[in-house]
Symmetry: C3
Subunit: 212 residues, 3 copies
């Protein structure tokens, strides 16, 4: 098992935990917890594969993804019920790590399909954030990545850095590590100093919207 595959499974587990916690905040039943955990951890990669026309999608043909996501979800429920609350700080750092892995992985997969740079960046970002967006949509929340601390911007930077380093012939392993460190560094800095992108406020009701 390569180190990158181990990182990937770790990312799946972390994202599943954030999904299970959101399901708990919505008082879902155990099936709901499992579904939200699986969608959060595997939804981004599935959307990427479907848009790229890459079949079978990652988790079909490898039981381990579903298994890890399910165990992480069940473990979260048991942990919260029988021990102390989740360590917020630790989960945030783990989530930033998972985000870094997923972004680089998604960019790699897209480049292997010979897509142009703009599409490769979008695929990298999509792999990193789309699972969380699906989780929020199913749970009837406006996706938090669209109006909170810098999150997706770290993915954009990581995808661009990976692509640039690849073209410098640095080797996949070194390029992956440096790009992941970039995502992790930006994300942890954003958490530490509450960095946000500027927002676009539009206060007046605009009647044209009612027609679309």
């Amino acid at each position: 098992m390569s180190w990158f595959y181990a990182f990937d499974l770790f990312g799946v587990a972390v994202f599943a935990i954030t999904g299970a916690l959101m399901a708990g905040r919505k008082s879902m039943d155990l099936f709901g917890v499992l579904v939200i955990a699986i969608v959060t951890s595997l939804g981004g990669g599935t959307l990427r594969d479907v848009i790229l026309g890459r079949h079978p999608v990652s988790w079909i043909g490898n039981d381990l993804y579903i298994l890890v996501a399910s165990l992480a979800a069940i473990g979260t429920v048991l942990w919260v019920r029988f021990t102390q609350p989740i360590n917020e700080r630790g989960l945030l750092v783990a989530d930033a790590f998972g985000l870094a892995v997923f972004t680089v992985l998604g960019t790699q997969v897209a480049l292997a399909h010979d897509v142009p740079v703009s599409a490769a960046v979008i695929m990298g970002v999509m792999t990193g954030v789309a699972g969380g967006v699906m989780r929020d949509i199913i749970c009837n929340e406006i996706p938090l990545i669209f109006h909170k601390e810098i999150y997706a911007t770290a993915c954009i930077a990581g995808a661009l850095i990976y692509i640039a380093l690849q073209q410098l012939q640095l080797g996949t392993d070194l390029a992956s590590i440096l790009a992941m460190l970039a995502v992790l560094g930006i994300r942890l800095a954003a958490i530490r100093w509450h960095l946000e992108l500027p927002r676009f406020h539009l206060l007046d009701r605009e009647p044209h919207d009612s027609d679309k």
Copy 2:
């Protein structure tokens, strides 16, 4: 026309009715009623086919699916307007029947694509419940299958039973009938005695969520 195909069309009609009723509760116009009915009845199978890379998806190439869903939606509007309210009890039983058919059908399709057992179960459940989840998301509701009486659990049991019976070489017809009876039995028992899965309640606001 095989008996299973007839069952499939019956399931499409029933799911379209539940979609049209939900659209009516949201005061949608006739186009909205049609869309929600079609998404509810064909959305699960479409998602399954797209993830499996199975083209063309089921309802392309067979006009009958769209036709049945549309007629069921229009019939629902006319029925509610001109006669008595919908018979709740009857609709619940019909819905359980449609769920049983869709689950077994989805599991069959997945197995025909040589996916592992975990993916076949997920495809069976997805075929049964994803249309209803899409209906609830479009209508801005938290999907009810995640916090109500046992519903998806019946699908999981049905998919597992179908796979087990297939491996016992029981023949597709007999395996299908027994698996459908399992889904139907569990679902009707859940309706009758209000069986629920345990829920996962998480009351404290967790700030880490605001970062994902």
Copy 3:
């Protein structure tokens, strides 16, 4: 560059503007504005391509789509911040034009994949309206096309007219222009006289819904 391709890019820009404005009403940050703009303008075509199994999807392999959508989104933010409010009337007309282009384009693509008429109409409507539906779902609104002035009905008419004219051997250019004029005419008339489809109101709470 054909005139139709120019129209297509114009439609992408207009839909991106409506997406950026909606993101602004939800106070999203700049990343959110970009995502909603891209999803609104390219989501319908992407869904159509994924369901048809057409790879690569339209915007992969042609950077111009993403570029136009992004520039339109950024331009919208700058325009609103530094000059006067958006001209509602003008945007409505531009949106109707984009809708006409997307509908005819989607119908053409579907027919090129040899799907039956019912599926071609659905693909045309989907290309025209699904991006806006995704925008509304992500922004946690019930999609407005399901309960406002005639919008999708114009797409249905346009797709049917295009298919009929094609079968009369009128030539793609002439059929496209006439079908677009039909969409545009119906839509502008609906805006001008506030035409609506009849709605389906269902007031009583129906307990069967809680089980699906």
